[in-house]
């Protein structure tokens, strides 16, 4: 089965609203990364996390290694936030496992 499960698989948001994306892990993740794949296909680094939380502007992410999940919160969604969000978990031996992504569309 999938080692990293992302939810939801797709999401539409009205501009200015908030949402949360989630990753659940069936492996013992030591670190987590979140990426945004933009419409051109480029992977943009958002967060790199050990257990704990980080915040960057309108984005906030948390990683709980004991409960095996991570979240990405988007506040005041903007049109440029549209794209596909991926999380990736490292069980500690540099073999990253990716989720299948959450496709986000921000609507004006």
């Amino acid at each position: 089965g999938d080692k990293v499960k992302q939810s939801p698989s797709a999401l539409s948001l009205q501009e200015g609203t908030n949402s949360a994306l989630r990753c659940n892990f069936s492996i013992a993740a030591t670190t987590v990364q979140w990426f945004l794949q933009n419409p051109r296909g480029s992977l943009i680094n958002l967060f790199y996390l050990v257990p704990g939380t980080k915040e960057n502007g309108r984005l906030k992410s948390a990683f709980d290694s004991k409960e095996s999940y991570s979240t990405l919160h988007i506040r005041d969604a903007q049109l440029e936030d549209s794209g596909t969000y991926f999380c990736a978990a490292d069980p500690g031996y540099q073999n990253f496992y990716f989720g299948k992504g959450t496709s986000l569309t921000v609507i004006p």
Partner: protein, 112 residues
């Protein structure tokens, strides 16, 4: 910011063809990775390396070889390309264990 470049950016070949994808990173990172991205699968690890001359097998290595010639350069080789290898290929690098990965722009490969 890590700089990872890939070439070519697009490649079309025929079944049975020989293809080499190139990746270079200029930040002296130890680890380099090759992934493929397919609809419905996310990114899947093909091969990775933690230094020149080193090669480790990832999750989907069948049909692929890789070679790490220098700390900067990592190559992915498809010696007998098949249509199932049509995909978007990403290279990435990181500074070692418990370190952030940085991705190149991707190479879109089509095998006819």
């Amino acid at each position: 910011e890590a700089a990872v470049t890939q070439s070519p950016r697009n490649k079309v070949t025929v079944t049975g063809g020989n293809v080499t994808l190139s990746c270079r990173q200029t930040n002296s990172h130890n680890y380099m990775y090759w992934y493929r991205q397919d609809t419905g699968h996310g990114l899947r690890l093909i091969h990775y390396s933690y230094g020149a001359g080193n090669l480790q097998i990832g999750d989907v290595p069948d049909g692929y070889k890789a070679t790490r010639t220098t700390q900067e350069d990592f190559f992915l080789l498809l010696e007998l390309a098949s249509p199932s290898q049509t995909s978007l290929y990403f290279c990435a690098s990181s500074d070692g264990s418990y370190a952030e990965q940085f991705f190149g722009p991707g190479t879109r490969l089509t095998v006819l």
